[in-house]
Symmetry: C2
Subunit: 256 residues, 2 copies
């Protein structure tokens, strides 16, 4: 079938266009229904889960490779991306390969560049959940969002990569109001707070949180309130892009 032909070709001839020994893995964060989510692929045959990843064209910048890979997985064009760590444990990529997979690829492909050692550069992406359309790649037969705390068994060292990405995100939170990238353009204060609580894994005082974030000046309150809630309706806010950028430039801190 067409799919396997593509796969086979990748194993046999991929090294002609990609750099050897080097890959990218992306941790794509989204926020939906008050929970932090991550985009995962279900690896063919193995049934384990994998981070969206890919390879680097011979004359391509890593940032561009990550953009290209994520464009394919999410349909999104302008994704907020940040390189966070490079994973190089020699044991990370030499784990036993799934047998069902090998059989489907064929004997010749077993000597493929794909079974050599890989060093992988980790990128973390922050996206607006509502804008993403997950698409599987040639190594997988499913692509979907998962709650950060109910993660399935993952291939290779991907669980470790995810863990590192989360730590990195937690630190990033102090230097950048990540809500801008993770939330839809308009959102309520409780939603923003829940985002922070989820990432930091601790409760914050509602009133102090509001005061602090308002004081930064990066939010604009809209005249509109949320409809259809069985209690006092919260206002919608959006980021004041002008002040947001100014704050970033000035190296703002946002401690909680």
């Amino acid at each position: 079938m067409k799919f396997d032909k593509q796969l086979r070709n990748h194993f046999l001839r991929g090294h002609e266009i990609y750099l050897r020994h080097l890959s990218i893995d992306c941790v794509v964060f989204g926020f939906h229904e008050n929970a932090l989510k991550v985009l995962l692929l279900k690896a063919k045959y193995a049934g384990k889960w994998a981070l969206p990843g890919g390879f680097i064209l011979k004359e391509e910048h890593l940032d561009d490779a990550a953009k290209r890979i994520l464009k394919e997985r999410t349909g999104l064009d302008k994704i907020y991306l940040r390189q966070f760590y490079t994973f190089s444990d020699p044991a990370r990529s030499t784990k036993k390969i799934n047998q069902g997979f090998l059989q489907n690829i064929g004997a010749k492909a077993r000597k493929s560049w794909m079974f050599e050692r890989f060093i992988s550069v980790g990128y973390s992406a922050l996206v607006d959940f509502t804008k993403v359309h997950p698409v599987a790649d040639i190594f997988s037969d499913e692509c979907d969002w998962f709650n950060i705390h109910v993660i399935r068994e993952m291939i290779l060292d991907h669980a470790n990569i995810l863990k590192k990405a989360l730590e990195s995100l937690r630190i990033q939170l102090n230097f950048q109001p990540v809500g801008y990238n993770l939330l839809p353009s308009k959102f309520t204060m409780p939603e923003l707070q829940k985002l922070y609580e989820t990432i930091l894994e601790r409760k914050l005082d509602r009133r102090n949180f509001q005061r602090k974030i308002i004081d930064t000046g990066i939010l604009k309150r809209l005249d509109e309130t949320k409809k259809g809630v069985a209690h006092k309706a919260p206002f919608y806010y959006k980021f004041d892009l002008r002040n947001y950028k100014k704050a970033l430039k000035a190296g703002m801190r946002f401690e909680l």
Copy 2:
């Protein structure tokens, strides 16, 4: 001569033992005479300066490669090391190669793996200046310390790597009392303060600085004072390793 034979061999056969397309560059920070220093090598023939760097053995962890490289350049065994960024601009390594260099290597070597594209992983190291014995490598004929603010012209994108390392160090300062790695085992309060001022590039109030760092509990004051200063002698301090590690584990912050 022996040196050029070694170099020639590296160009012709290095790819047999090292991963292609991948290198490491190290920014080694030291502190001496109240100034932040960085270790540089003078590239042969080009005369420009370079960060200590090297390549990764086919089954070697990047961290181990960095350790190996720095052991050779500094003589030090247990260096505090941290990976900070991976540099992948396709243009970074394709800059015109120095002619004098090429002539000395010979014609055959011009097709060497060394002239292919390189992606370089940046490591920053914090060392005790007084313990380092700089040694040049096969690509250079000089190795020495330079004040961070009077840096010479550098090869490739090394100036950029250095800049990124400094930014990274500045952020690190909030999470880790870097003095432990940069200062000799015993030091005075003004020395520690100067270290912070140099990295942050701003003046700090002497009295507030002292109070804050004492309050962290990671220092032990010795009974000894500095000798031979034409004014009131400052006490020596050293890090209380027990509390230092405890603070690190607890994720201490040190804002100034």
